[in-house]
């Protein structure tokens, strides 16, 4: 266990202004010039960058920035700096995973990250927000985003950039790709997110946790339970509230039900992208069955409305939990039968094998999370690394594959479905008795809440005023991390591979855009 003191050892010669234990993380206060050495020291000791929290504070300076890092069974660390003007030095040169978060903060808060290798054109598109930075507290005029040319990295005769999206054919989320091409082959795919930016973080400000959880659940409706869970756990940590054992176990049960549904939907999308419509239809039917199970036992097909700080809003009887486990088992067997057949389908495997490869080094550099990271040999899973809600008490494995290609991601998804079903059955068979909800008094402070969402690590950073109202909520999503990796997987590929590689990433745009 890292203590205040051992953290001092980790930071070595870096001058630290203070080390403060917070409720479930450690705040390391530092002067801005020492930021990069401090981050380097932590990363050398196994900490991994999670995200940047920008706060318009005004207590000691206009801006407070917290660089949040997580580790395997060691405390979360937030390196805090105060910034006096609307500009500070970029850390992207040493911490590439911070690249996109700096660009996001620059657009949304109107602060400049000096020396960023590729600033701009990130969160604000086509003058959607003329003359103000939407996340600032007051909508006072802020410096308009820096004008920037369309990204261009290919410099070859006959090369051009082909924009695709944001509106697609079929039933697709809105996002834009700028494909740099010199003919048949796409050399690089730039991703332009934030068409779906709903300012969820800002919309939560000034609300009570009870109100704000409605928004948290709808940041990514296909991972509503994970978002609700991460948010609720932050609020519970703030109030040092104890969640009843039964609720903790049921949270695991529902979170795994959500993971199974989300993974089966991702497998379905992969099959669709390869044009295998019969197995895709068979899997889509199983997705529907899983949605029906959720709807029948919780009232909501996407498990919304169930989570609350302090526990759950509804119980699930032992008998019903058993029924859920049995029906999910049945569905997983049906999925596995189809999966097994595909293992012998050469033409299907050809489409996935060696496409969209992400090396373990690349996955680490970009801060990949979830099944994408685990298919590139990075065993990152918050359920094991930072157990919450009692995960340490249940048996499950974290499947990992080495190749980092589409086929590895396909296998990781199926292996995780089996692990989730195993978890779900254990929990359903051993539900502790008792209530499912405890009171959570309104409390001021700052705390983290985190969960392994179906697509990867999800972190909520919540600061409240003494009345318990939210003053800042930062949502660090798996989507933002994994979309950042995606272009790496599609360098120099044939145009028709794009949908297949995309499907194997299983990315939600809503989750990234927030």
């Amino acid at each position: 266990m890292v203590t205040e003191r051992s953290l001092g050892d980790v930071l070595g010669t870096v001058p630290v202004a203070g080390v403060h234990p917070e409720v479930n993380w450690v705040r390391v206060e530092i002067e801005a010039p020492h930021l990069i050495p401090a981050l380097r020291a932590l990363m050398a000791h196994g900490w991994v960058f999670a995200g940047i929290v920008v706060e318009e504070d005004g207590e000691r300076a206009p801006w407070r920035l917290t660089y949040l890092l997580g580790a395997d069974r060691a405390p979360w660390v937030g390196v805090e700096i105060w910034v006096h003007e609307d500009a500070l030095a970029s850390v992207s040169s040493v911490l590439f995973a911070a690249d996109w978060q700096e660009r996001e903060a620059e657009d949304l808060y109107g602060i400049e990250f000096r020396g960023h290798p590729f600033p701009g054109d990130f969160a604000l598109h086509e003058g959607s927000f003329p003359a103000f930075a939407p996340m600032r507290r007051s909508i006072s005029p802020a410096p308009p985003p820096r004008p920037r040319p369309a990204p261009r990295i290919v410099d070859a005769p006959g090369g051009f950039t082909l924009p695709v999206g944001p509106v697609f054919s079929g039933v697709q989320e809105s996002v834009q790709f700028l494909l740099e091409t010199v003919g048949e082959e796409i050399i690089f795919a730039h991703v332009r997110l934030f068409y779906k930016f709903r300012a969820a973080e800002k919309t939560m400000e000034g609300r009570t946790p009870d109100d704000a959880i409605l928004i948290a659940e709808r940041v990514d409706g296909t991972a509503a339970f994970a978002h609700g869970l991460a948010f609720a756990q932050a609020v519970e940590a703030l109030a040092r509230a104890r969640v009843p054992e039964r609720a903790r176990a049921l949270r695991v049960l529902f979170a795994e039900l959500e993971r199974i549904r989300s993974h089966v939907a991702a497998l379905t999308a992969i099959l669709e992208s390869t044009g295998l419509s019969v197995p895709a239809s068979l899997l889509a039917t199983q997705v529907e069955r899983l949605l029906e199970i959720s709807g029948e036992f919780t009232g909501h097909r996407y498990l919304m409305g169930l989570m609350t700080p302090g526990g759950l809003r509804a119980d699930l009887s032992d008998a019903d939990a058993g029924a859920v486990a049995r029906r999910v088992r049945h569905g997983v067997e049906a999925v596995d039968e189809i999966y097994g057949r595909l293992t012998f389908d050469e033409s299907f495997l050809d489409r996935l094998e060696a496409v969209g490869r992400v090396s373990p080094e690349e996955a680490a550099t970009f801060g990949a999370v979830g099944p994408v990271a685990r298919a590139s040999n990075l065993s990152r899973d918050l359920r094991a690394a930072q157990p919450y809600s009692g995960y340490e008490g249940w048996r499950f494995d974290v499947p990992v594959e080495k190749e980092g290609d589409g086929y590895a991601r396909w296998r990781v998804l199926m292996a995780e479905v089996h692990e989730s079903a195993r978890l779900l059955e254990q929990v359903a068979g051993a539900l502790p008795p008792g209530p499912v909800r405890a009171g959570v008094p309104p409390t001021g402070g700052v705390a983290l809440g985190f969960a392994e969402a179906p697509t990867g690590a999800l972190v909520y950073w919540v600061r409240t005023d003494p009345a318990g109202q939210i003053t800042r909520c930062r949502i660090i999503t798996p989507g933002l991390a994994n979309w950042h990796v995606f272009p790496t997987a599609v360098r120099s590929f044939a145009f028709q591979d794009l949908p297949i590689i995309l499907a194997t990433f299983g990315l939600s745009v809503a989750d990234a855009d927030r």
């Binding site: 039933v171 809105s174 409605l214 296909t222 909501h300 389908d345």
Partner: protein, 235 residues
């Protein structure tokens, strides 16, 4: 070929038209019904302001209800319906020429993913949209219907307007989901426009957060003139 045979063995997954009972568990989250005086008069337990007490009757505004179930779970004797005939037509159906078949352009104007996922489920074999002659089309130029999900973000406003402008007449717009009707839980966000109807005219409204596939299907049937309206809008 092997897959073709496997598909045949599966038999029919599709539900028999609409005969599957609307109360079939898990198909719809349900929604509150107007509840008479004295039974349920605490409208404040609704976090979205969807319940309003009018002359002693608690009247739900479906354009705001997000199916959070808090009113029912609070133990209020609220009446709850499990149906799915939720769509409301604001204008007329498309002409008789569209009774057999329509083409739908789906547009994500900033949804959370759940509305879009329910639209996607509609195309699964369970609901099998195609057998109703309803097809999702890639191009607005072939589309009779624009189905919008999400609370119209600032960044999607223009794309939505342009897609609508590219559609031939006659054309219809379906606002799908609470977000598309009022902005839903994002109504107060600085980054969203809110209701689709603030940007382009809306013909059919489908409430629900998200509306279940059967409610979306109801909306499509309304436009094709195949279905009567659902329960009259209490507003």
């Amino acid at each position: 070929m092997a897959w073709f045979a496997r598909g045949l063995r599966q038999g029919v997954d599709a539900m028999d038209d609409d005969s599957r009972a609307p109360v079939s568990p898990g198909l719809s989250p349900g929604r509150p019904l107007p509840t008479p005086a004295g039974q349920m008069d605490d409208a404040s337990l609704c976090p979205t302001g969807a319940l309003e007490v009018r002359a002693g009757v608690t009247v739900p505004d479906y354009a705001r209800c997000v199916q959070c179930l808090r009113c029912v779970r609070a133990g209020a004797p609220i009446r709850w319906e499990q149906s799915y005939r939720w769509a409301v037509s604001r204008t007329g159906a498309l002409g008789p020429a569209f009774r057999r078949s329509i083409h739908v352009r789906v547009l994500d104007a900033g949804d959370c993913g759940a509305c879009l996922a329910e639209v996607r489920q509609l195309t699964s074999p369970v609901y099998s949209l195609h057998r109703f002659g309803i097809f999702v089309t890639p191009t607005p130029r072939n589309a009779d219907v624009l189905m919008v999900v999400g609370p119209v973000t600032r960044a999607m406003r223009t794309a939505m307007r342009e897609t609508y402008a590219a559609m031939p007449e006659p054309r219809r717009v379906i606002a799908t989901g609470t977000c598309a009707l009022t902005g839903g839980v994002f109504a107060k966000s600085v980054a969203v426009e809110g209701a689709v109807s603030r940007v382009i005219p809306v013909d059919v409204e489908i409430p629900g957060c998200p509306p279940p596939p059967l409610a979306i299907l109801h909306g499509l049937h309304l436009l094709m003139g195949r279905e009567g309206p659902g329960r009259p809008d209490p507003r």
